[in-house]
Amino acid sequence: MAFNRLKRVQEEAQELNVIPVMNLFMVLIPFLLLGATFFHIGVIPTSTPTLSPSDSDVPKTPTTVAVNLEVTPDAIKISSSSVSLDEDQLNALAAEWPKKNNEYQVLELQKALVAIKDKYPDSNTLTVLPYEELNYQDLVKILDVTRVRQIGVDEKGEPKMQDLFPVTIFSRFVPPELEGENAAIDDQAAEMEIGDEEVTE
């Protein structure tokens, strides 16, 4: 009888008192809840054309092309400009993809940009000229494929990205029939040159 009581006392003494641990958790959980991020916000660095002197000291390397991306209600078109390429070479880089199933063919666009990037690796500037009613979400989808591309995964399983045209400059598409109406904007735009923005990731 006495032995049984002693055994029971020993068993009770072995139970871990978890109340302090629970108290600690009750303090930590609200604190961590306040600092928890359930969604992640990022940014797309962009710019607009800026006025700069024509004798800019930006080095004009022969291997650099600036790509213009025009987004119309029915298609996306690219054209290129460069100080060192002739018209035929620039025309060879131009392309157009009409909408398919009411969607822009962004993957085709990315393939063309990859080809330009491979040919002229120092190129990094894309001037985007969307039409006025283009939905913002659609614009972001297009920018996603023009700025970077995935080239595999690293040893941690994270996607490995390669820069395509990370310097995005927005401009405004002025249809030919509205040119007179937008003359004031055009006058300024004619004097503009693309800024040499450095985009940091």
Partner: protein, 163 residues
């Protein structure tokens, strides 16, 4: 017989083990998702950001929010929008004079701070962070960007929701 009664007298203990397990899992989840950021970003409740795979990090800048109903600079409502569009009388020559005026003041303040050495880092401080609703059209966005450009800001960070 006596011993049996003695056992029944003891109050039943509360089983905390399963509760402790649950708390441990919650705690681990919260520690993993905890991010200590020195910049507190306030997302405007009246808008939904577009989704993007862009992974550039958020940095402090002049905060500009465009919802379908209003335009705000640093959380102060500047003007109303009509279903995501600026009324014709608000803008002229591709810019919004009121926004230009407000941002010009903000630009002067930022540049004065930079001149006084109050800003950290060597990055250009003349940057606007634009949080715009994903349903807006490009014209609305461009009018704001152009106005900011006229005011002295020519670099923008478009806030997006990471996929």
């Amino acid at each position: 017989m006596k011993m049996k009664f003695a056992k029944q007298d003891k109050p039943p203990g509360l089983m905390l083990t399963s509760l402790l397990d649950m708390f441990t899992i919650i705690l681990i989840f919260l520690i993993v998702s905890f991010e200590a950021e020195d910049y507190e970003f306030k997302l405007d409740p009246g808008l939904t950001l577009p989704e993007s795979s862009a992974n550039s990090v958020l940095k402090p800048a002049i905060n500009l929010a465009i919802t379908p109903d209003s335009l705000k600079i640093e959380n102060n409502e500047i003007m109303k929008l009509d279903r995501g569009k600026f009324r014709d009388q608000y803008y002229t020559k591709g810019e919004i004079p009121e926004v230009v005026e407000r941002l010009r003041v903000a630009h002067e303040e930022v540049m004065a701070k930079e001149a006084a050495g109050e800003l950290e880092g060597d990055e250009d401080p003349a940057i606007v962070l634009i949080q715009a609703d994903k349903t807006l059209d490009y014209k609305t966005l461009y009018l704001v960007m152009r106005s900011a450009s006229v005011a002295g800001f020519d670099k923008y960070r478009l806030a997006i929701m990471k996929k």
